[in-house]
């Protein structure tokens, strides 16, 4: 029973008219896991999330959530899900506290219990002093924290977060990550979408990289980097010519060269010796940066495109 995955998809497809948003994906998410969908806008992440959230009917394929069929058992499944949508849909007519208590009523939670949970959750997302405020004056980060608190009000087995930190400033993102990390430590299963590789690295035990409705790679962040990228990446900028012009000149250095509009990426296991080789060939880049490989690089290698454009 404990071995049964919380989510299982086989050949899952979602079409809107002629457009195929999700093109036959396979995945399993185990209890307690933090699972991520990484991909650019339009990769099919949100469509997949809406099918998992039982608010969108799959066009084809098999989908089981918490061991149930989302088409037949939608309300029963949703009773055990917490959903944090991409765009905040908090209730502007209600206060911060009422947003939680009203939402609790949608799950049939008794009033007194709803108030108890609301108090506790506001504490958890550090919004206690805003309890009586309306939603509109809150900052983006506060709204997002409130949305996450709202998603927790039914003590869900599975929490779905669609781009939880998009549009937030760095400080707000870190606070949110810290709260989500605590949820994960408490044993809550998290499924999130993101187009930020640092977010995926911070939060996900395992992730799939999506592009054009398909899963192009799957594994832990470390595994993906080790498999698809090199240990280090050298970022070279040249003052005089476009990065493309240097691809031929630097051929043979490192494992791979990727020209971007503003810089050239050089994939190598040893950044310092690669730089020495660049200088030995008589080139003087205007700036040089050696860094560890990230999921961003994995994505670029897999799809030939950057995540955030």
């Amino acid at each position: 029973m404990t071995q049964e995955p919380l989510i299982r998809a086989r050949g899952l497809v979602k079409k809107f008219g002629d457009f195929t948003a999700v093109d036959g994906i396979e995945l399993e998410v185990a209890p307690g896991e933090a699972f991520g969908f990484l991909g650019p806008n339009g990769a099919g992440k949100s469509s997949t999330m809406r099918m998992i959230g039982c608010v969108s009917t799959p066009t084809a394929g098999e989908l089981r959530i918490l061991g149930m069929d989302p088409v037949k058992d939608g309300p029963k499944i949703r009773a055990r899900l917490g959903v944090c949508p991409q765009l905040d849909n908090l209730d502007p007519d209600l206060t911060v506290f009422e947003n939680l208590t009203t939402y609790a009523r949608y799950f049939g939670i008794p009033r007194a219990e709803g108030r108890r949970r609301a108090t506790e959750l506001l504490e958890f997302v550090q919004l206690t002093e805003k309890a009586g405020s309306k939603v509109e004056p809150l900052s983006g980060g506060m709204k997002r924290r409130l949305t996450i608190a709202r998603a927790m009000v039914n003590e869900p087995d599975l929490v779905l977060l669609d781009e939880p930190t998009t549009g937030l400033d760095p400080q707000a993102r870190h606070l949110l990550w810290e709260r989500l990390f605590r949820l994960k430590q408490g044993g809550t299963t998290l499924v999130l979408t993101t187009h930020y590789m640092d977010e995926a690295e911070q939060l996900c035990d395992r992730l799939v990289v999506m592009d054009g409705g398909k899963i192009v790679a799957e594994g832990s962040p470390r595994h993906l980097i080790d498999t698809y990228s090199t240990r280090e990446v050298v970022e070279l900028r040249f003052g005089d010519e476009t990065p493309t012009a240097y691809v031929e000149k630097l051929a043979g250095i490192g494992d791979r060269l990727d020209p971007l509009p503003d810089r050239l990426l050089l994939y190598t296991s040893d950044g310092d010796s690669a730089i020495s080789e660049v200088h030995r060939r008589g080139f003087a880049p205007s700036s040089v940066l050696v860094r560890r490989s990230t999921l961003e690089d994995v994505f670029l290698i897999l799809t030939g495109r950057t995540l955030v454009d």
Partner: protein
């Protein structure tokens, strides 16, 4: 999403509870409520009492009554209509398209038809609040008796239900605010011609038939019969019309909500 689970009164109640919360949250909702109530009252005084003084008494179906007594039940039916329509057009559309209240609800066990039922009940309650106050005004002006007012009140609830459900169905199909202008034009035309300010027999037969097809006429006939105590068998037909109207509107609204929100 379509599901085999039965509708839950608790979940419908939770949808209504959200609107109670909005009502409690500040003065803005009350202002909207207040202004909506006054419109029919103003018509009753300006046309019913004011113009009525020029007209004198009226003979309708062999019964003599003051012009104000003729207009008042029509305004009562109109206030049930405007109360319910204001809720299911403007407010409903705003929640549906802009603040995504219903998307948030559908992430919980609540189902589209439960949203429709909850919103419709709330709209009917708003209409009923208007008509209850209006009936008190009518009693105070001697335009009805407390007993007939009690008889007319449930009829105004049915009127609210019927118009609320059609308003909600319209809100799920219209493209934007500009389309509401059409709805309001239709609403105003019905307000002027549905036997509100003069008996429909005064119009040419073609117009009379047209009026007979539209809903406010049936609402006015039913409410007027009950509040003046002049009952007729044709009122059963008025009830049937309004019941069918409520059922059809609700069914369209529920389906459209499911289709749009769970694509």
């Amino acid at each position: 999403m379509i599901s085999s689970y039965a509708l839950s009164p608790t979940r419908v109640g939770a949808v209504i509870n959200r609107n109670v919360g909005a009502l409690r949250s500040g003065p803005s909702y009350w202002l909207v409520l207040f202004s909506g109530f006054f419109e029919p009252i103003l018509y009753l005084f300006s046309i019913g009492v004011g113009v009525g003084a020029l007209i004198g008494d009226l003979n309708v179906d062999g019964k003599t009554m003051s012009y104000a007594a003729f207009v008042a039940p029509a305004m009562l039916a109109v206030s049930a209509m405007t109360g319910a329509l204001a809720e299911t057009t403007f407010n409903f559309f705003f929640k549906f398209k802009y603040v995504k209240t219903f998307d948030a609800m559908l992430a919980t066990p609540i189902r589209p038809m439960e949203i429709a039922l909850g919103e419709l009940t709330w709209a009917m309650l708003r209409g009923s609040l208007y008509t209850a106050c209006f009936l008190v005004v009518m009693i105070l002006m001697g335009l009805t008796t407390p007993i007939w007012a009690l008889a007319a009140f449930p009829a105004t609830m049915l009127v609210g239900l019927a118009f609320g459900s059609v308003g909600m169905a319209l809100s799920t199909v219209i493209r934007g605010w500009q389309d509401f202008d059409l709805v309001f034009t239709g609403q105003f035309a019905m307000f002027l011609f549905s036997g509100t300010f003069s008996p429909v027999q005064n119009y040419p037969l073609g117009v009379e038939i047209l009026i007979w097809i539209t809903p406010l006429y049936h609402a006015v006939e039913l409410v007027r019969g009950l509040s003046t105590g002049v009952l007729s068998i044709s009122m059963l037909g008025n009830v049937a019309y309004l019941v069918v109207m409520a059922a059809v509107g609700l069914s369209i609204a529920g389906r459209r909500l499911a289709k749009v929100l769970t694509a």
